[in-house]
């Protein structure tokens, strides 16, 4: 630490003529939105705080084109354009460059998103669209980049407590320390609630996160992150075939990232991540007079190595290229019917060339070649152009092909149920002894392993504008997204040699024509007065059926989010977020008629000496709420209060 000198150093003209190192070179600066070849929405810390959200998925409601649901209170979820699954498997989520998905089942990103501590987020950047060419498979419908706060920006202590209806009881404790060369942060958090009324969906999430940021030299930046978490969440419908149960989940991870400025316009980045995750879920299910243990215990280990190099050759040409290697190993006898550890590896090489033939034009071509030990190699190309009509008004166009590779379960599922009930005789004819694979229902999932990657061809045009006189920012995107080879679970009959007359009815994963989505979305972000901000995000979409009968309803015709942030006299801050959709049906759920939700929040930041704090009250669904995901589930009004102290 720079100790204050005993005597002030005196100023002279030398201070004015001293040379300084180039610190914020072009490669260190964030690309302004009008130079990004795609539609990006940024949600900053301030907006997250004032949204009153407890979940990242709730924050994503503010992004044009994002739909929100909750399969139950413990599984809130956002998806871009279409509710094609309840796992978030079709969007790519990164936290500081670490991809966040669970390999155990369907490539779930929602569970990982639930573990993020909102207080540690600097901003969320959402790429609206598809971009496998830059982000690889699974950057299918939306890419979410969560940037957590640099440890240098969170020195000191922070305590936060939230209590309210529905058992809401959240706590965050954070401590940050360090100096100009190295900063550290340790965050502990706990989030508890009872979910939705009359549903067994209590959730209890606890996490510990560590982040260290190091500046060993002027040109190096090193980030080390570690985290561990544990979640218990209720699930099940309370029926014999789907009884109530508590699913346990735990994870640990490590991320090491090193960025070096090789020159003012040249940067190298290396990234290593390692993570482990395990699930514990066991329940006795019954049907057809039999009882069986249904388990989905699994443990997964994932290691990723990544390298990226970028260089601007001159004002006209810029090149970025890199590679990544990933290894996943999974052990789950209950889901894959093998004691062996099954594994896959995946490699990627990618490049992006950016060309500015003229001040007003920015053209970008990118491509990624990916290899996967199950599905072979794939190429994802992307072409995009930005045209600055004036510095404040930019037109965009792009075309790309993206992929979603099947998840482990889609490739290798093998779940079997064995009868545990003595004396079962089916139809009075077929005795089923204890330990026998239950006929008909005893093989719920068996993947034939023939499933291929889903593909998506997307065409888009967009506009990004800033009308200075009115202090209004506009972001609009029109799109055509053709999904093909959609992966779906379909039943088939598997012969049962032990009971030839009672074959198994089992799900397999198959490719089917996917929906064609087309529509447009926009955001008006208007600050008419210094104390007022209004954000209108809206999507209009039509979906043409590919194969599934419900596909056309998986996207609502219209989806709207209106946010009003108002600073009030006396230092109070008010916000209101209204979201509404036309009727739609999330995959596996019911057709919900016009879900509407209005959240309001009143906050009062204050200072007590050196301690700063904020007291806030949030009422979610103050309008009474609406049905969510299923007709028998309602997201009801709930209020909670938060006290936060920074010292």
């Amino acid at each position: 630490m720079l100790a204050a000198p005993a005597m002030a150093q005196e100023v002279s003209e030398k201070d004015y003529f001293a040379d300084l190192p180039v610190v914020l070179s072009v490669s260190r600066l964030a690309q302004p939105l009008n130079e990004v070849p795609g539609a990006v929405t940024v949600i900053d810390r301030e907006l997250i705080r004032r949204s009153g959200a407890r979940e990242v998925a709730e924050v994503l409601r503010l992004v044009p084109g994002f739909l929100f649901t909750a399969r139950n209170g413990a599984n809130p979820q956002a998806a871009y354009h279409s509710g094609m699954d309840t796992y978030g498997a079709r969007m790519q989520v990164y936290v500081d460059g670490r991809s966040l998905y669970s390999s155990a089942l369907f490539g779930d990103t929602n569970l990982g998103l639930r573990g993020i501590v909102l207080e540690d987020i600097e901003r969320i950047e959402v790429l609206r669209g598809s971009n496998s060419a830059s982000y690889g498979a699974n950057a299918f419908l939306g890419v979410i980049n969560i940037v957590t706060r640099n440890a240098a920006d969170t020195h000191g202590g922070m305590l936060s407590a939230t209590v309210g209806d529905k058992g809401v009881n959240d706590n965050v404790a954070r401590v940050g320390w360090g100096d100009e060369k190295a900063s550290f942060r340790l965050t502990g958090s706990r989030r508890v609630d009872k979910g939705i009324n009359n549903v067994y969906d209590d959730s209890h999430i606890s996490r510990v996160q560590f982040r260290g940021d190091f500046l060993p030299s002027l040109r190096d930046e090193v980030t080390l992150q570690m985290g561990a978490g544990e979640t218990a969440r209720g699930d099940g419908a309370g029926t014999a075939g789907n009884p109530f149960r508590t699913i346990g989940q735990s994870d640990v991870f490590l991320l090491l990232r090193w960025q070096r400025q090789l020159a003012a316009d040249e940067k190298l980045e290396l990234r290593v991540t390692h993570g482990r995750e395990s699930f514990a879920s066991q329940v006795m299910v019954s049907g057809l007079g039999m009882t069986a243990l249904s388990a989905s215990d699994a443990s997964v280990e994932r290691t990723e190595l990544g390298l990226q190099h970028s260089r601007a050759f001159n004002a006209k040409w810029r090149l970025a290229w890199g590679g990544e290697w990933r290894h996943e190993a999974l052990h789950s006898p209950s889901l894959y019917f093998t004691e062996d550890t099954i594994s896959l590896h995946n490699w990627r090489v990618f490049t992006t060339v950016e060309w500015r033939p003229h001040d007003q034009w920015l053209l970008q071509a990118s491509g990624m070649e990916e290899g996967h030990s199950y599905t072979g190699s794939k190429f994802s190309p992307r072409l995009a152009a930005n045209f600055h009509v004036t510095p404040d008004h930019t037109l965009r166009a792009g075309v790309t092909k993206s992929w979603r590779t099947p998840a482990f379960y889609e490739l290798r599922a093998d779940s079997r149920l064995f009868n545990q009930a003595p004396g079962v005789v089916l139809l009075g004819l077929f005795p089923v002894p204890v330990g026998t694979q239950a006929p008909v229902v005893g093989w719920p999932y068996l993947s034939s392993g023939t499933v291929r990657a889903e593909s998506l061809i997307s065409h888009e045009v967009g506009y990004l504008g800033y009308i200075r006189q009115a202090n209004l920012r506009i972001d609009a995107r029109a799109f055509v997204e053709r999904i093909n080879d959609r992966i779906m679970a379909e039943t088939r009959t598997i012969p049962n040699p032990a009971y030839p007359l009672l074959p198994y009815t089992s799900y397999d994963f198959v490719n089917r024509p996917g929906p064609h989505l087309h529509g447009f979305e926009y955001q008006f972000d208007w600050r008419p007065l210094p104390d007022t901000r209004l954000i209108l995000s809206e999507m209009h979409i039509r979906s043409e059926i590919g194969s599934a009968a419900d596909e056309a309803r998986e996207a609502p015709f219209r989806n709207t989010a209106l946010t009003w942030l108002q600073s009030l006299p006396g230092g109070f801050e008010f916000s209101a977020i209204s979201t509404a959709s036309t009727p739609f049906k999330w995959s596996g759920g019911d057709l919900i008629n016009t879900p509407r939700r209005l959240d309001v929040r009143l906050g009062k930041p204050f200072a007590l000496g050196a301690t700063r704090g904020e007291l806030s009250v949030t009422v979610q669904a103050i309008n009474g709420g609406s049905q969510i995901y299923q007709l028998n589930q309602r997201f009801d009004r709930r209020a909670f209060a938060t006290l936060r102290l920074n010292f």
């Binding site: 720079l2 204050a4 003209e13 201070d15 004015y16 300084l20 180039v22 100096d179 100009e180």
Partner: protein, 295 residues
Amino acid sequence: MTYGSAWAAPVISVWVALSDTGGAHAETAAALRADVEQALPGRIDWRVAHWSQFGRAEPGPQWVVAVGTAAQRSMQGLFAGDAPPPLLAILVPRLAFERIADQRRLRGGSLSAVFLDQPPPRQLELIRLALPAVRNVGVLVGAESKGHTPALERAAKERGMQLLISMVGQNGLFPALQSLLTDAEVMLALPDPEVFNSQTAANILTAAYRRQVALVGFSPAYVKAGALLALYSTPAQVGARGGELLRLALSGKPLPPPQWPREFTVSINQDVARSLGLVLNELQLGEQLRLRDRP
């Protein structure tokens, strides 16, 4: 040096003492001479050298110009006795000048200066022009630069802005910087070797940029390093102003009081501006500021 004058008027002997013989000091001296020579060609017998080259034994000059703080200190020392030749210090920071100025000579009107720093109203006006929405301007000050804060506070208040002052104390620079960045929307760098130097600039610039706080620097080096803007007077601008004052004095008028440089330059780092979503024009901004600078 120049004796070929056709005028009968006597040649005036002027010493120009430099703190340093190269770079900015030489450039300032050259601009000063060019300005005077253009108006009074051949009238001046110039002696331009490093301050250590001048001694008391030589025939004394009629006027002395000190370029830089060290030169000012040595020239004041050299002519410490009675009836010293008038001294004009140029390219000196205001705080340095005020610290070493011989108060008796200052009152007597035989000592004046053209400062290197910028007047506070000009600094705040630039912020208002470039970033009209900004209300909270932060300054990070040390024991030296806190001398600037009263005038800056006044200038901010006049423009409906608030000056947030964070003092670098016993705990060092970093905590002061972090606490300032919590509330400041723009940060105005003030020359103070304890606070802003080539070691600390990197931390200050990166920490401010991470929080989207623009930095306004006081030299072109800051703009190159990553500050959004810089407001400064070049050596040529300071030298030319020095030349004007010297000419005035040579024409028999009293030496004007110490003053800010009249001409200035606004520089913008366009990469940083773009990245912060700003559209700024260097020439236009400079012109607007000049219009407001001269009522």
